[in-house]
Each structure stands twice: as C-alpha cells, then as structure tokens.
Symmetry: C2
Subunit: 213 residues, 2 copies
C-alpha cells in the first residue's frame, strides 16, 4: 500500500490518526497542498478529483474517499476497533460520521473556500473551477455554530459520539473541530462544556498528539 498525505488538511489528518491508532507503518508520499502539488497532471493519474488523502492498494487501485479507506484498513487491521463492534454500533459510527461531515465539515469548507483569503476559482475541491460566493461565508459561520451545538447536545447524552467508546466518528468530529478553529480563529468548544471535555480528551491521545496539523 501507499498513502498520499499532507499534514495540514483535515481529510488526510482523519485517516492519518486512524493509521496511528492502529500502529500501522504505510509508505507515505507527501503531496504538498500549499504548493498545489495535488493540482498537477501527474497527481491526476492517482486521483482525478485532485483531493487528498489517497490509499493506493498493492494492485494499483486508488481509494480516494476517507471513509472508504478507513473501512478498508479496519477490515485488514481490525485492532483496535474504530468502526464499531456489532451492527448497531457500526450504524451509529457511520451515522455520526455522516452527520459530522455533512453538517459540520461542509459548513466549515463553505466558510473557508469562499472567503477572500482563499484563491479565486476554488470554492469547491477538484479540477472544475467555481467562483467564490461571498454569501456562503456567513452561511458557513452559522452552520458551524449549529453543528457544534448539536455535538455538544449529543456529548451531554453519551461520552462519545457513537456511544460510550472512542470511534472513528470522534476522530472525524475532532478533526473538524480543530479545522473550524483554524478557519474561524475561534475556539468552537468555548462555552460548550461537553464539547470541551470530549475535545480535550481526544487531543491528549498519543495517536492524535503525534500528528502535526
């Protein structure tokens, strides 16, 4: 296998934490997003969507979506379990992963990619050019607040997002928290007690500490 990675971006970071939690050593190719190394004809052969991370399998198949590669790694290296033990827990992990991605991550991306600091024409990832839409900056800010309110409510009901155990849903939610903090310059956990408790606990895990970004 080969892992295409860049430490500064949320999606590679999610999969990077999974690899660290499982103690895996996968040969890693750094693709420098800040220098635009993902937007090249060379990288297009690996991933025509120009996104990171990518997990290249030994037969050359390139898996390009984070959830798909985490599921693959979980099948090959089941310990420690991160995707749920039984059908119900697995469903709750997928559910809280998708809630976090669709309601949280997409809102943060809106806020980030439509602001004047972000290069014009790149309001969505990938090779097609989309102009900034300034109204999405405000909408993104509102989505981020609604997302953190939802996480905080959930974390008042259970210790972790999918239940009483740390899973990939927490890894995704945590990475989105830190991405939001970087993008907005604000600490989303502030005044949200459950979110603060959970965030600080995850931040102290060796697999999370070990990773820059």
């Amino acid at each position: 296998m080969k892992f295409y990675y860049f430490s500064g971006a949320p999606s590679p970071r999610k999969v990077g934490i999974v690899i660290a939690e499982k103690g895996l050593e996968i040969p890693t190719v750094i693709v420098n997003l800040r220098e635009g190394k993902h937007r090249t004809e060379e990288f297009k052969a690996t991933n025509p969507s120009w996104t990171l991370p990518v997990l290249e399998l030994d037969d050359g198949t390139c898996i390009t979506e984070s959830l798909a590669m985490v599921h693959y790694l979980e099948q090959l290296y089941p310990e420690p379990n991160l995707m749920g033990i039984d059908a119900k827990e697995q469903a709750l992990v997928l559910m809280w992963h998708d809630i976090s991605t669709l309601e949280g991550y997409l809102g943060i991306q809106e806020r980030y990619r439509n602001s004047l600091d972000f290069p014009e024409g790149r309001a969505l990832p990938g090779p097609v050019s989309y102009d900034r839409i300034p109204a999405l900056v405000d909408r993104g800010n509102r989505r981020i607040q609604a997302f953190f309110d939802k996480l905080d409510r959930r974390l008042g009901e259970s210790l972790y997002l999918a239940g009483d155990r740390y899973t990939y849903a927490d890894i995704a939610g945590y990475v989105y928290c830190m991405f939001a903090k970087r993008v907005t310059g604000q600490d989303s956990a502030e005044r949200r007690e459950n979110l603060t408790r959970w965030r600080d606990e995850i931040a102290a895990r060796p697999a999370v500490l070990d990773q820059p970004g």
Copy 2:
C-alpha cells in the same frame, strides 16, 4: 424495526430500493414531506434533523443517515450482497457512494433548494433556517453536469460504479440521476452513452420498478 419513509424524496428512495432488493417487510410509517409532516415537534423526537428516512430499531434507537441504515440492514440480511464482498469491493462501494453523494447529490440539492420554486428559508435541510442564495442555482447546474460526466467516464471503464456488479453505489447514483431529471427537467443521460446503458438497466430492475417516486 420501523421505517419512516416518503416515496417522493431521494434519500428514502435509496433505502427503500435496498429493502426491496433484500425482499424485506419492515413496518413503514409514511411521513408526508410535501405536507411538512417532518417539520413537527412530534417528528423531532424521532429525528431532530427533520430528515427522512429514519430506521427505528427495536430498542428505540433511531438511525438517521441512509448509509448507516443500509450498512445495518446488510449486516442483518446479507443476501443479496449490496455493500461489497471483500475489503476492496466494500471500499469501492463506499468510495463511489461518497463521490456520488458529495459531488452529485449536493449539487442537485443546491440547484433545487435555492430556486424560486422552493420555499424560502429552507436552502438546507433541518430545523435551522437558511435563505436561498440565487448564485447556487447556476453552480448546482454546473456541478450536476460535472458529476454526470464523471459517472459516464467511470461507466466506460466498468459495468457498474464499484466494478462489474450491481451494488448500493449504483442505487445511490441512479436515484441521484432521477432526482436531477426531476429537478432540472433534463435527462442527464442524454448524449452520455455509458450512463444511458447503466441507467436503463437499473430502471428495469423489479426492486426499482416497484417503487414509486
């Protein structure tokens, strides 16, 4: 189990096709989206995100994201397999599902929910009100075209999205195709030969034919 469903909307339809493919009989509660029956205090107890479908388990747990409920049903009723046999095929199903959802479905939703035909204040699903942003109608149209170009290219390489076999990735992609046709009034498969071949084949499946919407 109990299944909260409405036949006119794409996400319930995806899970409804899975239930039909597996030949399951699950007690079903119709929640009429057109009459706003999902935007009530009563339904909020089932799903605070006010979305459909929902799969309520026997212990009262409500699973609210389509992928999570399809995974759950696949674990309980593995035949016919729709989520992949081995780790690699499972990863490809998840990958093409997520590509279709993030690049296709979200673009169609942009086009749909920001047009003047759609009620104001509901540009995103859920209880938080977001105003229409007219620029997203054009952007949605462009995303839809880019998505269908990508599906057509992929379906020139393999018979189905995840490989040589019909899976949940095809169910999702097909439902998005039909949703785009309804929203835009245009046949997305037109002039795209691979997409037409695949779409027509899926449309003729008994589990797909049986379902209205």
